[in-house]
Amino acid sequence: MRIFLKVWRQATPRDRGGFVDYTAENISPDMSFLEMLDVVNESLIVKGQDPIAFDSDCREGICGTCGFLVGGVPHGPDPGTSVCQLHMRRFKDDDRLVLEPWRARAFPVLKDLVVDRSAFDRIIQAGGYTSVNVGGAQDANLILVAKTASDKAMDSAACIGCGACVAACKNASAALFTSAKVAHLAFLPQGQPERATRVVAMVERHDAEGFGSCSNEGECEAVCPKEIPITNIAHMNREYLRAMLVTRD
């Protein structure tokens, strides 16, 4: 296969950046999208040119490191797929693809397709946990969790924190990311003691980091590689409202 690429190149965070054309030759349909980019980069390195910077790590869709826009869509055209699991058999010979980094004020571009997502860490830091210290836990089976609650918690906890939801949202909202953690812990008995304080702290931090508001378009759900549903956001809004009505310390 041969693929024509238009790739965003930006040397530093302050650089203006722009698109550069590349041709990926001799691409096998069984390659992953990132392996195709590896081939392009190998040819650049041999010529002594700076390869295209993009992030990736596990390359099996679980670490959340990779991600950029393929033809305007976060992680590319396949539903429920991170770009490392997107395979070239999805494309046709001589396809033309535009690759861009996530675009959001809270995710500044570091270089080429790499952005700074540390704002996600700071949202978790604000309250995405149960405040238990090592050493004091009771026997695990003393906490009963209904299978349905545990399954729902797991559905939300499956978020990989890649940032595709933010990139897809016209408001650059991280509501899906934030709500997935809020919902995961709200479903479980272990999350109850801090239920109210957690959601408020996380939502406030979300806003302070410069993410926008949710306006219920559902773009986030459509591109999420883990198919986290937008019902999490509704859940978070209910939790937030509830927290506003109960006493806050």
Partner: protein, 637 residues
Amino acid sequence: MQLDSKTPGGPLAEKWDRHRFESKLVNPANRRKYTIIIVGTGLAGASAASSLGELGYNVLSFCIQDSPRRAHSIAAQGGINAAKNYQNDGDSIQRLFYDTVKGGDYRSREANVYRLAHLSVNIIDHCVAQGVPFAREYGGLLDNRSFGGAQVSRTFYARGQTGQQLLLGAYQSMMRQVEKGSVKSFSNREMLDVVLIDGQARGIVVRNLNTGAIERYAGHAVLLCTGGYGTAYYLSTNAVNSNVTAAWRAHRRGAFFANPCYTQIHPTCIPVSGTEQSKLTLMSESLRNDGRVWVPRTSGDKRPPKQIPEAERDYYLERRYPSFGNLVPRDVASRNAKAVCDEGRGVGDSGLAVYLDFQDAIERLGDEVIRGRYGNLFDMYSKITDDDPYSVPMRIYPAIHYTMGGLWVDYNLMSTIPGLHVLGEANFADHGANRLGASALMQGLADGYFVIPYTLAHYLGSATLPAVTTDHDAFKASEAAVQERIDLLLSVKGSKTPRQLHRELGGLLWDEVGMARNEAGLRKTLERIPQLRDEFWQNVSVPGPKNNLNKNLEYAGRVADYLEFAEVLTLDALHRQESCGGHFREESQTPDGEALRDDANYSYVAAWEFQEVGKAPHLHKEPLTFEYVKPSQRSYK
């Protein structure tokens, strides 16, 4: 130097409690005066950062990823063992201990393994309290499944994403400490040197991967939690950024490297396809709970699997190992897969694959139950291969997955450099020559949550640690050396990419230091590695700037370290003229092809001391003694 494991005295079951009591403590008001540097944020690193932060130490946490949540522990699928005996099927701490020592082919330290089994139950309690969404029964109790090398169900799991959920639990606990100010998190930092002052580990030098700046950090102790060295083989199930650099730099500073030849080759991975493949993907061992492994009975049978009648299939694991069946340990399953493929009975285009078939389980339980248990794994498989495992058997083949070898540590997890502690996969101690499934998560978390808080306090409470700053000459010298190496990489301006050289090294190691090893092949490899290293330093191409984000420069540095490390890996495999666990020497096998140990000559830990690049390291031996489990020929028949 005499290796002292510092194993406490007394009966096995009481050693850890006794040790905890005899260890020194640091009082709560003094803890914040100690700065602890933790490198790596996988299960071991993140759990250590959170537990030490909770205790009040001043923790500096570093990772190469853009967030601590992305460390490669996140990719672990199947589960975590704990001797809870919730299933009433005969489990106990004693049995988990026994299974692990036997599974490791009697090449681990008994006292360490017992401690691990003992702590396994606390890990589950803590992780449940954190809100890790483990699988549940309908009554609300925790569910379990079975893993290889065990005849009980002691594995706790969160679908096929157990590592992800445990890591997020540890990461969230760590971030809670970041919010409180007791932990400072430094992402996008790669450790390039350990700084020793008066022989003690007192700091690190890192490269800021976003800006290229070289930074110095000082502390009272350094904890390396940087994982294994599986990517030396180029293709492995490890993440593409996993590397040996931090451990290797520590080795060059005096930390002994133990048993590097003990590498784990996981039997159930998606087979290699094409030459540009960048990594291999694991299909969890838990699949062998319901999947049956088979190949055609006759070699060269190329019919599609559905057209091969039952009588012409060879369920070779069930046939050879009736009592463990498809759930034999990983080393045994991998060797058998290789053997049937060597006989020409392998399947798929390459002939380097065997079937993992769910037909019987689907008929017995239905699609939905199987989807509930393994849905995400089946999805992952069909994305990569374009096959549907619900209707066609999976094709699988062994791949490098984990490394039991690592930096030598004593019972306190301290290396041969005072103050330098090594946790998780980066150390060597608990799994012997073969790790059982669902034990890596257990060990990483045991080390970080429950061992290091005690043993580190003992070190801090007993060592003399004068005040140092990053202006010390040792920091300056270290930074200069790091800078010089980076300049050297950039100055070669050759015509080969780091990836080409890495792939060549990996292919060599996989062929000669992989599933089966022999003297001639190992000797040939030892001649070839220095040639490859020379070629690297004469002909590598590393374009781009040093003072900016430059992933190719990072990668080149890691490949350079692999080209040094590969020699001690191969040398260790050559010197150990026995087969044990994942280390299979063709010269040492039983009449029916099983690994044949040589306890009279090799019942020891091989710890290698660095001399200089290109010069053979010096071998030190820590004898292994077995008081409670009598070593015998391992049998799963």
